[in-house]
């Protein structure tokens, strides 16, 4: 092996890492710009004669929110029951099964409802957003918007982003109720605590702070999902295959971002 060959892998690897880092930073920058631009159109759109349409937002709310209700209900119910099962199993060691409500109510409201809602929406709507924008880009539909004097961020991104910010917290609240209810049903069946008593206990335990902790997180999740979907869709290159790649990337990235943010948020807020 010649000396240059020996050095090459390191140089090559360093360069690769460097390039990837630059690309990553670039993407984050693009995402940040997208958020800023969206706010701009939302607030000043009317002045620029490009008002954001309420109809478009409502349409996105339907697609993102209403159609996700069944699957979110199913998963929230499952998680609620799972927490009840595990909680009772763990607390039985100390003979403290009747205190299971504490664990359930905090876990559902602070952690599991926002997390499961975020993950479902990332999979359903974040990917759909990336695919839609990517397809529109390769079909020159985005160019067509530009030449019609319609700003694509205002027309495509803002409605989706606003709908996310409305619907993800709303669905999180919904999964709070569903999760708590089905956990209660299991507690009732297993421990014989009446549903009414369980609910009284839950309401007493939970403060507005706990609820806001979960909902606050879900707002951040919603923005992450929207931005990651849009950035991946907008960077699609090379036909249908590119759209497929971007869609997958959007889902993986937004779920990772959600989980990491969840931890960071809990760390910062809880301490």
């Amino acid at each position: 092996m010649t000396p240059t060959d020996a050095r090459n892998p390191i140089v090559v690897t360093t360069e690769k890492v460097g390039r990837a880092a630059v690309a990553g930073v670039e993407e984050i920058g693009l995402g940040a710009m997208m958020v800023v631009e969206s706010f701009y159109w939302l607030i000043f759109g009317r002045r620029e004669k490009q008002a954001v349409r309420l109809g478009a937002i409502a349409e996105q709310c339907m697609a993102i929110g209403i159609q996700a209700v069944p699957i979110i209900a199913l998963l929230a119910a499952t998680i609620g029951m799972m927490l009840a099962i595990q909680g009772i199993h763990t607390l039985r060691i100390f003979g403290a099964e009747s205190r299971v409500t504490v664990g359930i109510s905090f876990s559902v409201v602070r952690e599991f409802a926002p997390l499961i809602t975020g993950i479902v929406i990332a999979g359903r709507s974040g990917s759909a957003l990336a695919a839609r924008i990517g397809t529109m880009k390769i079909n020159q539909e985005v160019d067509a918007l530009y030449v019609m004097g319609i700003n694509p961020v205002r027309f495509l991104v803002v409605p989706a982003m606003v709908a996310m910010v409305i619907m993800v917290p709303a669905l999180t609240l919904f999964s709070d109720f569903v999760g708590l209810f089905f956990a209660g049903v299991y507690v009732n069946l297993d421990l014989g605590i009446s549903l009414a008593a369980y609910m009284d206990q839950t309401i007493e335990l939970l403060s507005v702070d706990d609820l806001m902790h979960g909902l606050g997180k879900s707002v951040i999740f919603s923005i992450l999902i929207a931005v990651i979907g849009v950035v991946n869709g907008a960077s699609v290159q090379g036909g249908a295959e590119g759209v497929g790649k971007a869609t997958t990337r959007a889902v993986v990235q937004s779920i990772s971002a959600i989980i990491v943010t969840d931890m960071l948020f809990a760390f910062v807020v809880t301490r």
Partner: protein, 276 residues
């Protein structure tokens, strides 16, 4: 028509020394051209010569490296966002692939510019959209989705959308590519109708020599990012330059030549073997 506009040339598009790059590659190498009001300007040239690129720059979709472009008297580098939007309302574009929005019906597609830029009520917009669809012989198809249309119908619907705001300038990228001769010829007639009846200036990119001679008031020929010729079809036919005559004939023979070269490339054989 040609003569009267030629005697009083009022330029709706003025391009001076336009240089453009994709990445490091120079695509347009200092192009200067004018488009007069109420004329059909056809842009021709070999594949990859920069026709679509030029069109994208004329539509202000890309940033150029140097040179100036004035569209309807406005220097597009000096326009603010709002002014650019206002200018764009006077331009119509029929994209090569149609670029219809797949989530909207044909009627909604055609109505979209009206919906976004005018304060008209929905009924009026629907009537206007239907009128434009009638112009392109798609009356009664407004409730179909773009995926339910044939290729030729998509192109015509894209035309309807491009002209719904009654633009001053209409850009078309390869309107007749991939269409059967009857539909292609109908589109040519449509372009002439738009010029004559609605007083539009039309800029068309095309490969079809026959269609170019039929519709063009003037023809621009691009060759590898440079302008080889600008003039009327008659001037083009009579041009003594060997290069242009070659190009004209070559364009006409394109199919057979290409098939041979293509076969050679596929089989990896040397082009020495000539069957004829």
């Amino acid at each position: 028509m040609t003569d009267s506009t030629a005697s009083t040339p009022h330029n709706v598009i003025e391009v001076r020394d336009l240089v453009t790059h994709y990445g490091d590659r120079m695509i347009l190498k200092g192009i200067s051209m004018d488009v007069h009001a109420d004329e059909v300007m056809v842009i021709m040239g070999g594949s990859g010569s920069g026709k679509s690129t030029l069109l994208r720059h004329l539509m202000a979709l890309e940033h150029h490296t140097s040179g100036t472009m004035r569209i309807l008297g406005e220097d597009i580098d000096k326009l603010s966002g709002v002014e650019l939007v206002e200018l764009r309302q006077k331009l119509g574009v029929a994209f090569q692939g149609g670029a219809l929005f797949s989530s909207m019906t044909v009627g909604e597609n055609v109505m979209l510019p009206l919906f976004e830029h005018t304060g008209l009520d929905r009924k009026t917009m629907e009537i206007m959209a239907r009128m434009k669809l009638e112009v392109v012989s798609l009356g009664g198809f407004e409730n179909l989705m773009p995926s339910e249309l044939s290729g030729g119908m998509i192109k015509r619907a894209a035309f309807a959308r491009a002209i719904v705001m009654d633009p001053k300038i209409l850009f078309c990228d390869e309107p007749s590519a991939g269409l059967d001769p009857v539909v292609a010829s109908a589109l040519d007639d449509l372009i002439l109708l738009l010029r004559d009846a609605l007083g539009m200036t039309v800029v068309v990119v095309t490969h079809e020599l026959e269609s170019a001679f039929k519709i063009a008031d003037r023809i621009t020929i691009l060759d590898r990012g440079e302008i080889l010729f600008i003039g009327t079809p008659d001037e083009l036919r009579a041009d003594p330059s060997q290069r242009i005559q070659n190009l004209l004939n070559r364009v006409a023979e394109d199919d057979t030549m290409d098939a041979d070269a293509y076969l050679n490339r596929l089989t990896g054989e040397q082009p020495a073997y000539r069957p004829l």
